[in-house]
């Protein structure tokens, strides 16, 4: 059945200001009402740029130089990269094309105190009748399962709820097209199922839904059309069945369901020796030990942190007792995975490894020494911890400077140079040594943060949700890095919600539930 296209684009090239090469070239796509389209591509392939361009979030001219055309609602706008090009009216465009960015928090206005008002924001700006707004908010909240949350402050929502609110904000004006950037990333299975149902009902109502993803999520198998983006251009398209039947047409950077073991990056003996953890020779006993560790947040520390004023307090519904009586011994060369439901205290557990949090009971020993009272920056020489959000850790102007930071003082320029090169190579970023860390794609940022930890060759490597935001290639580099660090004698602790991944990599699998650590 041939229906009119809801949205189409023919992009000869799109270039950001000041960039030499276009980020997108020769991209011709069209989306039809009542269909689901997946745009698949590895990290850095230009998916997000394409999505923002389609949704009017990156207006040609102001955001960069577009040569080509965009067609929406039978109106075709042609762009030649000149000053007299048409200028998109983002408000009108946004009423017809909704966009949900990768970070759902980014869509929030930050000026509305309840979920209901946040949903109504676009209607308020359009000058809608109050009664119509009330009805629309009611309807959308019902569709998205937000009805019980309408009076809550947006800052108090969980990740899954926030994703649904962001979608609600995008669809409340009834757009013909909805573009979502990586909506399934960082959702647990229950959240992903809910989202898949929601996508189904939007498609049935006639919306053209476009999902940008670097992983073949289960929900995307139901799509009518897959478009594969690689290196800024369309390299393949077709139905899911066609493309799954010809896997060579999907670039390796796209994550497939299930765990893949085609390690293109071999762990070489030489590499392992090269990565020998510092001062490893003497250690024969456990390199890290938890003895009866318990941790609880005091109700309100007396004379402690004062409450800040303002409506948007950071959500912090911590149960009083987070960790109970945890005993753990980590031997050199061991890989231990800790899994558990959201909110089980996995991150709290991890923060005890280097003393960012001090146990309220028991003690943490690194190489047999209690770390209580030692500065975190000092423990960090032995325990390298990689946080979930890599951007909090990056501050230099180039990737190489980032990795090299602090190495000169400890090891001298020669050794620092060698370690920087080795660490960048280990995560596949040798070619990006001069790139700005913040301009790397999400996957690259995580790998760079990993490289900063690897370069120090810590005796304990602790990773918080390392797989999130990694594309297929990134996942293989992570795998190789973890295995070679372990082969070189480092103990590795990884905290993840991805149980199959944990099973594939770890020697020991532990679960954290109700504050207790148990073997699985």
């Amino acid at each position: 059945m041939e229906t009119a296209t809801a949205l189409a684009a023919g992009i000869r090239s799109f270039t950001f200001h000041d960039d030499a090469a276009p980020v997108l070239h020769n991209v011709d796509v069209s989306f039809h009402p009542g269909t689901l389209t997946a745009v698949l591509g590895p990290s850095g392939s230009g998916k997000s740029t394409l999505g923002r361009l389609l949704a009017g979030w990156l207006p040609p001219g102001a955001g960069g130089t577009l040569e080509g055309h965009l067609t929406l609602a039978r109106t075709t706008l042609r762009f030649e990269g000149q000053a007299q090009d048409p200028r998109i009216n983002p408000a009108q465009w946004g009423r017809r094309v909704g966009f949900v960015p990768q970070d759902p928090r980014a869509i929030l206005s930050t000026v509305r105190a309840t979920v209901a008002e946040e949903l109504a924001f676009a209607l308020e700006n359009a000058g809608g009748e109050r009664s119509a707004m009330l009805a629309a908010v009611e309807r959308i909240a019902g569709l998205l399962g937000l009805s019980g949350l309408l009076d809550r402050h947006p800052n108090t929502l969980s990740g899954g709820q926030l994703r649904r609110l962001a979608i609600g904000c995008a669809v409340i004006t009834g757009p013909e097209v909805l573009v979502m950037d990586e909506p399934f990333a960082s959702l647990d299975p229950a959240g992903a199922d809910e989202l898949a149902l929601l996508v189904g009902s939007l498609v049935r109502q006639g919306t053209a839904v476009v999902i940008l993803s670097q992983a073949v999520d289960e929900a995307l198998l139901a799509a009518q059309q897959w478009i594969v983006l690689d290196g800024g251009t369309v390299t393949a398209d077709g139905t899911p069945a066609e493309l799954i039947a010809a896997p060579q047409r999907l670039p390796a950077g796209i994550r497939r369901p299930g765990v893949q073991r085609d390690t293109t990056v071999e762990v070489s003996e030489a590499g392992a020796r090269n990565n020998q953890a510092d001062g490893q020779g003497a250690a024969s006993g456990p390199v890290l030990e938890f003895r009866g560790v318990g941790f609880g947040y005091a109700d309100r520390p007396a004379g402690g942190r004062k409450r800040r004023m303002g409506a948007g307090d950071v959500p912090g519904d911590q149960p009083a007792q987070v960790l109970r009586d945890i005993d753990l011994e980590l031997l050199p060369g061991e890989i231990v995975a800790v899994t558990g439901p959201n909110g089980a205290g996995k991150s709290t557990f991890l923060r005890h490894l280097n003393g960012l949090l001090q146990p309220t009971a028991g003690s943490v020993l690194v190489r047999g020494r209690d770390i209580a009272g030692r500065p975190v920056g000092e423990v960090a020489q032995t325990v390298g911890l990689l946080f979930q959000n890599p951007r909090d850790q990056l501050f230099e102007r180039t990737a190489a400077r980032e990795v090299r930071f602090g190495l000169d003082r400890r090891f001298g320029p020669h050794e620092a140079e060698a370690r920087t090169g080795a660490a960048l190579a280990a995560v596949g970023l040798s070619g990006a040594a001069d790139a700005h860390p913040m301009e790397l794609p999400a996957s690259g940022q995580r790998l760079l943060a990993l490289a900063t930890v690897l370069a120090r060759r810590p005796a304990v490597l602790a990773l918080d949700e390392p797989t999130v935001a990694l594309d297929g290639d990134g996942l293989r580099f992570l795998d190789a890095a973890v295995r070679s660090a372990a082969a070189a004698g480092a103990a590795v602790v990884l905290v993840t919600h991805d149980v199959p991944y944990a099973r594939s990599l770890a020697h020991r699998l532990l679960t954290l539930d109700g504050g207790r650590l148990a073997a699985r």
Partner: protein, 245 residues
Amino acid sequence: MRLHPLTTLAAAGSTAVITTAAAYLPLSLAVITAAVGLSARGGTSRRLLPAAAAILVPLALSLLVLHGLFFPEGDTVLAQWGPARVTAEGLSFALNRAAQLCAAVLALLVFSFSVSVPDLVAALSAKGVHGRFAFVLASTLSLLPAITFRLERIRQAQEARGLVIRRGLLHRAAAFRLQAVPLVSALVEDAATRAAALEARGFGGTGPRTSYRDVPERPWEPPFRMLLLLAAAAAVAVRLLLAGD
């Protein structure tokens, strides 16, 4: 039912202006008493008084030291140590000015500690300047705790990378750079995304706006606000005329 936020704002503002214009010690003291009483009745005094003290105590002390000890214009010398001269004129100047500032500051703080920010924003969000000003106010208030939290997270992440903050100005300046760079670059990038989101949701439009939040108002409130503003303007005019004579 509580008062419309613009009414309380007009009341606080005109009180501050009239007190300043009158420059009359008993009035200043009366306003101080009334402000403290109002905040006690409204149940905000526990938060308001420390905040006010943090502002007013150093200010009053500074005034007292400055004018109590050095007031070359003063004639009635009460005591003298070297170049420092305690004069009656200086002390009374300091006392008057301190009371006047306390009254104005307290009147405004009673407003900001009691107002419901979402109501104020909804009331201001009519259109044009008001809408954008309301956005700046509300967004600042909601970003403040979030950013303080984020700065703490950045500090933790950097300590985990081996950063030890040592004493000394240079070390602190270096630490400042390491923590400010990720904070600012993330904020600027978030702001760019938020700008696109707001534009797509019609924030940049110039047409009429409506409000989902209903801020009720009694019929007498708009004329009363007008009256308060007129009273403030009159007080200023009278004072300036008197000064001109």
